[in-house]
């Protein structure tokens, strides 16, 4: 109610606005925790190559499966590599791949959704059917097919993940556009004779942007899980590059007696997913979007 008061006068520039949103997000405990976790992981990913105590690929038969100790904080794995080193490095590929993957998902999902919402009618029907049909194939099978045909390089993984995770964004963008397009300010712009491009750019995008961004943030955490599953199955990052999914996969057989080598990557992965989730939720609330009523997945 207070934000409606006519006293807020000055126009805020973009930076100030972003800062304001961050502040609102951090004002609730869940948002603050989420932001802290994400920030921690991002910083860690940036500095980990410089602070890692050991060489992540140094195999040593003498140090196989050592329990945590002062030298090896999280112990060592079955090849004698330091688990702490591998854990702090293990999020880098996942973060990069899924970050860019999400951007691609946002881009194509957002644009296609806005387009469908805008044109409506038959074209919309057909496009949505095609999108649905494509994506009703279990994504993991399709991913496996793609990586077995094209390899598991990041150049393949990023667009492939981006493609599969864009579907939900198409729906959200389409629904948001539908809502906006019925509003009189669009009719007003059309009646004035603005071009379609100008209407999309000036009237529609500013009003659907928030919903799409929030959805993108949400998809990011799911994509992270998807990517790690691929690694777990051996189709993501190739060894010896450290990666949480891969580490969990390698260590899972030894869980009963060398639990340390599996716990650290699990904590790394799940904390990041939870962090992104909390952040996305706080982001949605700060922008005034109620995800509980608007989640037409």
């Amino acid at each position: 109610m207070e934000s409606n008061l006519i006293t807020e006068d000055k126009q805020k520039n973009k930076l100030e606005k972003a800062f304001e949103i961050l502040k609102t997000m951090a004002s609730k405990p869940s948002g603050l925790i989420g932001l802290t976790i994400v920030l921690f992981h991002v910083v860690l990913a940036l500095i980990s190559p410089y602070i890692a105590p050991y060489d992540y690929k140094a195999i040593s038969p003498n140090t196989m499966l050592l329990a945590p100790s002062a030298e090896h904080w999280f112990g060592t794995d079955s090849l004698g590599r330091d688990v702490f080193t591998r854990t702090i490095l293990g999020g880098r590929t996942a973060l990069t791949v899924t970050f860019f993957g999400s951007l691609i998902a946002l881009l194509w999902g957002g644009l296609l959704g806005i387009f469908c919402g805008l044109v409506g009618g038959k074209i919309d029907d057909v496009v949505m059917r095609v999108v649905d049909a494509f994506l009703s194939i279990p994504w993991i099978l399709a991913m496996l097919l793609i990586v077995s045909l094209l390899g598991t390089s990041t150049e393949v993984l990023i667009p492939a993940l981006g493609f599969f995770y864009g579907k939900g964004i198409v729906r959200v963008a389409r629904a948001a556009t539908h809502d906006v397009i019925a509003k009189d300010f669009i009719v007003s712009a059309r009646a004035r004779g603005h071009s379609n491009m100008s209407i999309i750019w000036n009237e529609i995008i500013p009003n659907v942007r928030d919903a799409i961004l929030v959805e993108g943030a949400m998809r990011w955490s799911w994509m992270l899980l998807g990517f790690s599953s691929l690694s777990f199955l051996g189709f993501g990052v190739s060894p010896p590059t450290p990666d949480w999914g891969l580490m969990i996969s390698n260590a899972r057989g030894l869980m009963s007696f060398a639990y340390w080598s599996v716990i650290a990557p699990i904590v790394g992965l799940s904390s990041l997913i939870i962090g992104i989730n909390l952040t996305a939720d706080a982001f949605a609330k700060a922008l005034g979007i109620d995800r509980s009523t608007k989640a037409p997945v």
Partner: protein, 675 residues
């Protein structure tokens, strides 16, 4: 009669602001509801009337909390009760009909079933008793054929009928007190009059006390025994309905009554300056100080108490109320408007215009034609002169907005032509119109919340037409924007505001400014004041009139409100089901003889005067589609003369007053019938 049912004592309700301040939205409200009495609570949006009504059934909206005071229902404090205790009272002893209650019916359940559920919840009747009760209730709210009605779904009923079902459900538990929050807002004029008549009947028949909350003094006047006027969270005036409406002794109520357009007055209503203060911004002094023309220095520093005046049986919160005693005849005045010069040239002509929403069949699509024998809008012929204000009136669904959209090029016409200046035909397709024609015709919409992009500042909103049509930029653009704001009486500092930071009236001013930015010849106004409070409505009407007199703009003004139309228009066209019924100079259309439909509409107008009761001459049925042949009004016409009305389209007849009427009844006969 004198037994008090519910009594509110020194009630304050507030919320905690983000900065941790306590802000009250109801301040020290006290009032009593007697048995069998109907109390009208009136106030503008944000005055706290709904908060008060809800508190009277022990309900406080989330985020709000009572700061002090009591709501005593039969001497028990509702605000202290547990939710279990409240459940026993709500529905049984106190029932509520919220706004849009009719639309809130569950869509996939039959009417009878829904009433049965209410009966199960609020009474101890068995199945057969309940069945009997259902038809009794449906009868009581005067729904046609109650037997079959119970088996219908909500969407098979009209808006007014749905509202009747809501009333029936509220009556299920035989409540002592019925709360009605804007129960007729959003309904058609004729429907509104019928529902109000029903409520009055029920109050008398069952002896139920009612609290009727509305922003509409016209509706309040029809039902209330007593009226409570709220302003900025306080009661400013309270007393017998007749006294309040005829001799208001509070400056706010006085101004409010003056700002309501009346059927009997040709000019524009006087507007009150300013707008209601926001909660939390009132520090000291009278809350009406900024807008009051009786204010003195004393009012600025001290806030007046609610004072009881014995001889008038009235409570008033004003230091200077004595100046208003015996001023009543002043209420019947209005601001005369300059009428336009009737010799002017025609600027827009609608010739035989028909518009259809029917889907084109494939074959017709190829030929680019629409084959619909019974289009939504048909045979519209109107010539609009430069500088005049022509109003289109009619109930919801009469095709008013449809016609406006076609003029704006947003909707293709089926037949006929729209001619602009010197008989040049305007394409009915927006894309085919040249930029100058697009500029010349601008639109203003009903709801500024929808018509202004919430993510744009006022500056961005106003710069759109200026950039598009005149390629302005930089300093020149800014200068033009400031000029426009000045024209609509807004200051330069509004430029950086977002629509959410403006009040309703300010938003609509921005929308008006945006239309004028194009330097248009014609402005199409679609219900531009219906989303606004009356005092703000008067200001916007005066602004539109002023701008028109200064700039010579032509208005096509769509409204369902006959009193507003009377105030602003030079000429009126009455529409029913997309067909013209009557057209003529406004002072004549409001005189008899008129078309039977105009008569029905005029009869249903609710005036803020207890002595002027609506005349309900026709049923408030809603027709889905215009009839295939004959007169468009045949389905509801109270003066229908026979088969000819069903089979032949009536001819135009011109009355001696200059209004043209389309009816089979001879115009002189019509005049004598309506005497």
């Amino acid at each position: 009669m004198n037994e008090i049912i519910e009594s509110v004592k020194n009630l304050s309700i507030g919320f905690n602001s983000q900065k941790g301040k306590q802000i009250s939205i109801l301040r020290n409200v006290s009032t009593n509801i007697k048995k069998g009495e109907t109390v009208g609570i009136v106030g503008e949006s944000g005055s706290g009337k709904s908060t008060l009504a809800l508190a009277m059934m022990g309900y406080i909206k989330q985020g709000l909390f009572p700061l002090k005071g009591q709501c005593l229902f039969k001497s028990e404090d509702l605000l202290k009760m547990s939710s279990r205790q409240l459940e026993k009272i709500r529905g049984r002893k106190i029932a509520m009909i919220p706004q849009n209650a009719g639309q809130a019916l569950t869509p996939n359940l039959k009417i009878g079933y829904q009433i049965d559920e209410a009966l199960k919840l609020h009474t101890d009747l068995n199945k057969t008793e309940r069945d009997k009760k259902i038809s009794e209730l449906l009868n009581k709210v005067r729904l046609p054929s109650p037997e079959t009605m119970a088996f219908r779904y909500p969407h098979e009923l009209s808006g007014g009928q749905q509202q009747r079902v809501a009333v029936a459900m509220a009556l299920a538990g035989k409540p002592d007190l019925l709360l009605l929050d804007e129960p007729t807002t959003g309904l058609d004029v004729t429907t509104q009059a019928h529902v109000l008549e029903l409520l009055r009947f029920i109050a008398k028949d069952t002896g139920t006390s009612m609290i009727y909350v509305s922003h509409d003094l016209g509706a309040i006047a029809q039902v209330s025994d007593r009226i409570v006027v709220m302003y900025a969270g306080e009661i400013v005036l309270e007393g017998p309905a007749r006294k309040i409406l005829k001799e208001p002794i509070h400056p706010y109520t006085y101004g409010l009554l003056k700002s309501i357009p009346k059927l009997s007055l040709a000019g524009l209503p006087a507007s009150m300056p300013g707008s209601q203060p926001q909660p939390g911004s009132i520090n000291e002094g009278c809350s009406f100080y900024d807008r009051c023309n009786l204010a003195t220095d004393n009012c600025k520093k001290n806030s007046p108490d609610l004072e009881h005046i014995k001889e008038l049986d009235t409570n008033v919160r004003c230091f200077n109320y004595k100046e208003l005693i015996n001023q009543n005849n002043n209420l019947q005045t209005s601001i005369t408007k300059k009428s336009n010069n009737s010799e002017a040239n025609e600027v827009l002509k609608l010739k035989d215009v028909s518009i259809s929403y029917a889907k084109q069949k494939f074959f017709d699509q190829l030929l680019n034609k629409i084959s619909d024998q019974n289009p939504t809008v048909k045979d519209i012929n109107i010539d609009i002169k430069k500088g005049e204000t022509i109003a289109l009136v009619g109930e919801s669904g009469s095709g008013k907005s449809t016609i406006l959209k076609s003029i704006a090029g947003l909707l293709k016409t089926k037949d006929g032509q729209i001619k602009f200046e010197n008989d040049r035909i305007l394409s009915s397709d927006l894309k085919m119109r040249n930029p100058n024609d697009l500029r010349a015709i601008q639109l203003i919409f009903q709801n500024p919340d929808e018509s202004l992009n919430p993510n744009h500042t006022v500056e961005q909103i106003l710069s759109q037409p200026l950039k598009l049509y005149f390629n302005l930029s930089g300093e020149e653009l800014k200068k033009n924007i400031i000029d426009l704001l000045k024209k609509v009486r807004l200051g330069e500092f509004y430029m950086s505001r977002y629509p959410r930071q403006l009040s309703g009236g300010e938003k609509q001013r921005v929308a008006v400014a945006r239309a004028f930015a194009a330097k248009p010849d014609i402005i199409l106004c679609d219900e531009v004041t219906s989303a606004l409070d009356v005092s703000v409505q008067a200001a916007v009407l005066n602004l539109l009139q002023q701008l028109k007199e200064d700039l010579g703009t032509t208005y096509v003004f769509v409204s369902h409100d006959l009193a507003v139309v009377r105030a602003i228009s030079d000429r009126v066209a009455v529409l029913y089901q997309g067909r013209l019924c009557e057209i003529g100079p406004s002072q004549n259309v409001y005189k008899f003889p008129s078309h039977p439909y105009t008569e029905v509409l005029l009869g249903a107008v609710l005036e803020p005067d207890p002595d002027i009761k609506p005349k309900l001459v026709a049923e408030d049925i809603v027709e889905e589609k215009p009839p295939e042949k004959g007169c468009s009004f045949q389905g509801r016409c109270p003066r229908k003369i026979g088969d000819i009305c069903n089979s032949e389209v009536p001819p135009w007849q011109i009355g001696e007053n200059g209004n043209a009427i389309r009816c089979h009844i001879n115009i002189e006969e019509l005049a004598s019938l309506q005497q």
